[in-house]
């Protein structure tokens, strides 16, 4: 795998219009654009409006609409960190009460130091799904342990534009330092940890970690539709694109990568959906688009939220990647 780029979520600053040349290429893979065809609701639209002189207040509906799938990020020819930029804009807006701000756990328990050579940070969705956790632990081997504190509350606050202090982040990170290998199920958490941990570790999103096992790769069939977790992949496309290209070549499966090799989301992992907030993205429409013109026999997902989305809107069997391993 190629070296990952640093991804600094803690860097201050909102949209930087000076860098955007307005090409609009970032819109091409945006699910909000795909469903609504309204430029104002896209990253490009926010930037163009800001360049034109719009106030930040005017951008609130657009910032709230974004599902932070990161589709726009690998496409920007100017290399703008769009996911980070949108988070920064949300922070500014939430601070002024212009965005709904979900709860934040202010009194967090002091986390214990993690004692494992391979630590899984499950995220809220995986944590609540015993069946998949068992399958994941089976594939990753006996030395893998689940981290008790998955940081979901901090992540939720970050996604909503809430204030997460440096002290809170440092307190969360402290027990993770020194762990030889981290496997992170939630894409946004992966991006945060990758940028925030002081020294690069062996850290992988859950999908690529599971795909290291030949039994897992052998379990993927040519008739499968393989759903890549979008947030980590899109933020680090250059690092992972070859892995999935090879998977496609070797197994013959189809994936949720579009022509630009950007991962298309279902939208099921976004904060708006998880928190029951108003969202303009229809998961049903996304699932329909992902499967349009494709005739898979089975769906294989990396993220548990996608499992639920496909199960609800298709009649196809849906399994988690950890469950496909051949014995």
């Amino acid at each position: 795998m190629k070296k990952l780029s640093r991804y600094d979520h803690t860097q201050p600053g909102a949209i930087d219009p000076a860098q955007c040349n307005g090409c609009g290429v970032c819109m091409l893979s945006c699910p909000v654009w795909h469903q609504h065809r309204t430029k104002a609701l896209t990253y490009c639209g926010r930037n163009r409006a800001a360049i034109g002189g719009a106030d930040e207040d005017d951008l609130a509906p657009s910032a709230a609409a974004c599902i932070l799938c990161g589709s726009c990020e690998p496409l920007c020819p100017m290399g703008i960190r769009t996911q980070q930029s949108t988070l920064a804009l949300r922070r500014n807006l939430a601070r002024r009460g212009l965005l709904p701000n979900p709860r934040v756990a202010r009194d967090r328990k002091k986390p214990e130091r993690a004692a494992a050579s391979r630590l899984i940070i499950p995220g809220a969705s995986l944590r609540d799904n015993g069946r998949i956790i068992s399958a994941v632990l089976r594939v990753l081997g006996g030395e893998a342990k689940l981290h008790a504190d998955d940081g979901s509350d901090l992540l939720l606050s970050l996604e909503a534009g809430g204030e997460v202090s440096d002290a809170q982040i440092q307190e969360y990170l402290a027990p993770l330092e020194g762990v030889p290998e981290l496997i992170v199920a939630d894409g946004l958490m992966f991006n945060l940890l990758y940028s925030a941990l002081p020294s690069p570790k062996s850290m992988l999103p859950l999908g690529p970690a599971l795909l290291r096992d030949p039994n897992v790769r052998a379990g993927i069939k040519s008739t499968d539709f393989y759903m890549i977790e979008t947030r980590a992949y899109n933020a680090h496309r250059h690092a992972f694109v070859e892995l999935y290209s090879r998977l496609r070549r070797e197994t013959g499966c189809t994936t949720n990568l579009d022509l630009q090799r950007v991962a298309t989301p279902t939208g099921a992992s976004c904060m708006q959906h998880r928190e029951g907030l108003k969202t303009i993205i229809s998961i049903e429409e996304q699932v329909k688009w992902l499967l349009e013109g494709r005739r898979p026999a089975r769906i294989v997902v990396e993220h548990p939220d996608d499992l639920e989305a496909f199960s609800r809107y298709t009649k196809l069997p849906v399994v988690h990647l950890a469950e496909v391993a051949k014995p």
């Binding site: 307005g22 609009g24 430029k39 104002a40 639209g45 290209s245």
Partner: protein
């Protein structure tokens, strides 16, 4: 107070059609060019409220919020700035028809926009309504048997390709830019590197649905409303709004691409013309770094065509492979050490650009998949910017060499670094389709086009510098009798000079008869 005397030195009489007055302010401001109004005056806004109210009564709500209007202040060129009074995202043909009826009734200008990839402000609204067609981006029907697709016209070519690929299909010909829309492309032509074989993108249209400037909805093809069909295609938006299109498509195939390098522009052009004349490649074009590294690219959809090329035509090409060219270029600069900056530039350009044209994740068994994605990403990364200046010349085969060689000298005069992009365009449609378009009237069989693309590289150039550059390129066209691709908007002062009063006045009369209030895309051509 009587100001008459104050202005008596200026002739402010409105010009009659066909009469170009000298610039009253500075007659020698643009040497050799009798200036006429090229920047549209802001529409005075009369009847705007009545227009908006009438549309609202039909449940069509114009977005007048400042933040929405600010999205549309300029186009890809970044040189013309205006602001619409309101924005409407088109959602149906019926909606567009209601808009045009109301626009005629109240005399409100309607500026239609797809991807907004114009460079001369053609899609920038200076007041009035901005109609964003991208709200109509559905793929309506894919006919695998007859290889056609019916889509709404606001769709990006990239989105169309995305939908077609799910069925193992692809479009035939589209600009090498993913954010151009189908409707906008059909309205101006659309050039691809397979245009020497297939003609322009507009020639792939079998039928279109349009809304006329008076709000009538028409189905058009060569057999139905043919006059409208051939006026709206390459009509620069003057005669109607395209809302749907039926296009020829093909089965998707990855393509094999080869590059041949030349140190001499004319030789490469001669080889390009030979390849186009003899239909030797499925795709062919020239892309240069300055005029020292001239890249003739050829590509093939099938192994058979590729084999035929190497059997028959490769030996006639005078270009080199990468290593041979590197050796010759190295020797050239060793003997000319004072040109070391130029050599360094070419080296750096090669180092950064070439890998972008061959990304591993867009290759399959040595063939390029998603060629438009690859080229478009490279275009925006290496040529994109907040300002883009791309004057061009479109010529007959006979005038091609002189036009490009003279244009090349102009590029050298104005910019340290630039690129030329040359391509052939097969003429496949009826003559009336190409009147007042990028296809010059004297071209037979294949026309040729060249874009002159300075690398602005973040430097600040004055508007005068950029405009003078464009003018000097366009003056070549006037001098030797060519056409242009980008003759609208800020460059429309050249229209009468290259096409002549008779043709322009004929088109103006047609425009007045179908658009009595002159509201649809006004100031673009007339």
């Amino acid at each position: 107070m009587n100001n008459a005397g104050k202005y008596e030195a200026f002739d402010i009489t409105p010009p009659q059609p066909g009469i170009i007055p000298a610039c009253p302010v500075s007659p020698d401001a643009l040497i050799g060019i009798p200036r006429q109004q090229t920047n549209p005056c802001l529409w005075d806004g009369s009847e705007w409220r009545a227009f908006v109210s009438e549309l609202a009564s039909k449940e069509i709500h114009v977005d007048e919020r400042n933040a929405s209007r600010l999205l549309y202040v300029t186009d890809a060129g970044g040189m013309a700035y205006g602001r619409p009074g309101g924005v409407l995202i088109a959602r149906s043909t019926k909606m567009v028809a209601e808009v045009m009826k109301a626009a005629q009734k109240y005399g409100v200008p309607v500026t239609v926009r797809g991807g907004g990839l114009t460079t001369e402000g053609e899609t920038v609204a200076f007041g009035g309504l901005q109609l964003d067609m991208r709200g109509m981006s559905a793929v309506l029907e894919i006919d695998k048997e007859h290889l056609t697709v019916r889509c709404e016209a606001g769709i990006y070519w990239h989105s169309l390709a995305e939908a077609l690929r799910r069925h193992g299909l692809d479009y035939l010909s589209a600009p090498l830019n993913m954010t151009s829309s189908v409707g906008g492309t059909l309205g101006v032509g659309g050039i691809d590197i397979n245009s020497p074989r297939l003609g322009c993108s507009a020639d792939q249209a079998l039928a279109i649905k349009i809304v006329t400037p008076t709000g009538e909805i028409l189905e058009c093809s060569e057999s139905e409303n043919a006059w409208w069909f051939n006026r709206v295609l390459l009509g620069y938006g003057q005669f109607g709004v395209i809302t749907e299109a039926t296009l020829r498509i093909r089965h998707f195939t990855p393509l094999t691409m080869h590059y041949f390098y030349y140190g001499d522009l004319r030789t490469a052009m001669e080889d390009l013309v030979m390849l186009c004349d003899e239909d030797a490649a499925d795709y062919a074009g020239i892309l240069t770094m300055l005029d020292r590294a001239v890249n003739l690219l050829v590509a093939f959809d099938t192994d058979e065509r590729e084999r035929a090329f190497f059997t028959t035509w490769r030996k006639r090409l005078r270009g080199f492979g990468e290593l041979g060219f590197a050796a010759r270029t190295g020797l050239y600069y060793i003997l000319r050490p004072w040109k070391y900056r130029e050599a360094l530039y070419l080296l750096e350009r090669k180092r950064t650009l070439l890998p972008e044209l061959r990304p591993a994740h867009h290759l399959s068994q040595g063939k390029i998949v998603d060629r438009t994605v690859v080229f478009s990403q490279a275009v925006w990364k290496f040529w994109g910017g907040r300002q883009m200046v791309i004057p061009d010349l479109a010529t007959s085969r006979e005038k091609f060499f002189e036009a490009v060689l003279r244009g090349n000298e102009v590029c050298k005069k104005y910019f340290p670094h630039y690129t030329l992009y040359c391509v052939g365009i097969k003429i496949v449609g009826p003559p009336e389709r190409y009147e007042l378009s990028c296809i010059p009237p004297d071209a037979k069989g294949i026309a040729y086009g060249c874009e002159f693309e300075p690398m602005l590289e973040g430097r600040t150039y004055s508007r005068d510098h950029l405009q003078s550059f464009k003018n000097e390129i366009y003056d070549i066209g006037v001098d030797i009798g060519t056409s242009y691709y980008r003759f609208g908007g800020m460059m429309k002062g050249y229209i009468r000079r290259v096409f002549g009063d008779t043709l322009v006045d004929t088109h103006l009369a047609m425009k007045r008869s179908v658009d009595p209030a002159m509201v649809l895309n006004r100031d673009v051509i007339f």
